[in-house]
């Protein structure tokens, strides 16, 4: 019988870890991930999580230790965010091309400076081009469920890539909900045999050089390097179908179906759409409901999987709308807009869908994106349907 409990997003993630039975975990605390690290430590101390917990001196070591553990065949977990993730970057970039199926919670946080310890998605968006799979959750239950699914996705033989399960700092990390805890036996059966180091290993029984010098300007180096880069891109593309399939399997077994790549909310006859990512989507859906009641033909598209980029799913969802407004919780400094917006522009151009689009940036450094903000987003997006001019970015919390 599945147990119910009341907990916040960080505890939900930790329960997802417990049920996935990793062999080794290494975590270094950083706000707003810290309580997740504490739950993990507590579960190990109480014998609920039977994993080796490595105490290390910082995030660079956290991920380096886990790379070694994965190369030795261990299922592994860590969690980080913000400045901690910045310190982790060197091994972080190295993990995907080694094809190590490490799972990490990113409790997303805004970037410093100015000094802030609050939520935002600047950290996750900054590392979106590193070969990690990125999935954004909307509720505590989805965090727990996605953490478990993440292992099955990461360890799928057609994927073999590390996965970030992202949840918004503050709003999801500390927001308390009732969640359902799946049975351990069910999760064991769902995950099956662990599948970590069949392809690359530190193992005296099968000696190999791991990550040998490759590239340069002569010999076979350059073409080898290209081969591995293309292989990584292939794994990312394979992940799209795998993520969909594993979400379907999860729904069939546990009764909770999530949109694996993108969720279409009241999009069926929508003439224009707003696009969201992460926990802001709840307020967005409430605002869409209110606008629909007032006769506005608006729908909402929520992105769950941002890496790999779900191009076909976006095509299916947006091909019939006449305008989009995209709400980001981070900044693309080079483009003076939000990064999700900027990538949607690329997708629309690639798909030959020529419609007006406008970028909204909100919720930076822990700011709330309220239903009122979304009413403005909806109003503005409705107004641009017949515009040909490029539109300036709108900063939602500017006057708060």
């Amino acid at each position: 019988m599945p147990k119910k409990l009341v907990c916040d997003g960080n505890e939900a993630a930790a329960w997802g870890v417990v049920l996935s039975r990793p062999d080794m975990v290494a975590v270094y605390p950083i706000t707003p991930q810290s309580s997740l690290a504490e739950y993990i430590s507590q579960f190990v101390a109480d014998g609920i999580l039977k994993a080796d917990l490595m105490d290390v001196e910082g995030e660079h070591s956290v991920l380096s230790v886990l790379q070694g553990a994965a190369l030795a065949g261990a299922r592994t977990f860590t969690a980080s965010c913000g400045q901690g993730l910045a310190f982790m970057f060197e091994p972080y970039f190295r993990t995907p091309p080694l094809r190590l199926p490490i799972v990490m919670s990113l409790v997303t946080r805004d970037g410093i400076s100015p000094q802030c310890v609050w939520g935002g998605q600047q950290d996750a968006m900054t590392v979106r081009e590193t070969g990690w799979i990125h999935m954004y959750c909307e509720t505590a239950q989805e965090i727990l469920d996605t953490t478990i699914m993440a292992y099955k996705i990461a360890e799928h033989r057609d994927v073999m890539l590390p996965v970030n399960v992202n949840h918004d700092g503050n709003y999801l990390s500390y927001g308390v909900e009732q969640i359902e805890l799946p049975d351990q036996a069910d999760v064991d059966e769902f995950l099956g045999e662990k599948n970590v180091n069949w392809h690359v290993a530190l193992d005296p029984e099968r000696p190999m050089g791991v990550d040998p010098l490759t590239g340069g300007a002569g010999g076979i180096g350059p073409s080898l390097f290209v081969r591995y880069r293309k292989g990584l891109c292939e794994g990312m593309q394979n992940a799209l179908a795998v993520i969909e399939d594993i979400h379907r399997q999860w729904g069939e077994r546990f009764g909770r179906f999530y949109a694996p790549l993108v969720e279409s909310y009241r999009m069926e006859d929508a003439e224009y759409a707003i696009v969201t990512i992460g926990s802001m989507s709840g307020a967005g859906k409430d605002a869409v409901d209110a606008a629909r009641n007032a006769g506005e033909p608006v729908g909402l598209l929520k992105i769950k999987t941002f890496r790999p980029f779900p191009l076909e799913a976006i095509k299916a969802a947006l091909s019939h709308v006449k305008a989009i407004g995209v709400v980001d919780r981070s900044v693309s400094f080079g483009w003076n807009c939000g990064p999700v917006f900027q990538e949607l522009l690329s997708a629309l151009f690639y798909l030959r869908i020529h419609i007006p689009a406008v970028s909204f940036i909100g919720g930076l450094a822990g700011a709330d994106i309220t239903v009122d903000h979304f009413e403005r987003v909806i109003r503005t997006t409705a107004d641009i349907m017949n515009t040909d001019e490029p539109l300036e970015t709108i900063w939602l919390n500017e006057a708060d």
Binding site: R99, R206, P207, M208, L213, T214, G221, Y228
Partner: protein
């Protein structure tokens, strides 16, 4: 020292674009990078193997009465010359026409 007797890992079932691993020595000839090369004075060499221990590319080979670097691999870093307790190794510039 126990020699590694295990057979190389069978990579035939692993996609060749999956992950950078090696089970045989690479074709890459790091000797191409060399600006200076180590020359061993065979009179001074006592086969203490200090150069063999320190060489970062592990390219030192054992000869009847001396050790010397495999010049297809030796990068010319000079660690062996620096560490040789008998000063039997000197680094000389690669001649352009050599």
């Amino acid at each position: 020292m126990k020699k590694q007797a295990k057979k190389p890992f069978d990579t035939s079932k692993i996609p060749d674009n999956l992950c950078p691993i090696a089970t045989v020595h690479a074709e890459l000839k790091t000797g191409d990078w060399r600006a200076e090369r180590p020359v061993v004075d065979r009179e001074k060499c006592v086969k203490c193997a200090t150069c063999w221990v320190y060489c970062p590319t592990q390219c030192i080979q054992e000869k009847p009465n001396w050790f010397e670097a495999d010049l297809t691999i030796c990068k010319g870093c000079g660690v062996c010359a620096h560490e040789c307790p008998h000063r039997a190794i000197s680094m000389i510039e690669e001649a352009e026409d050599d």
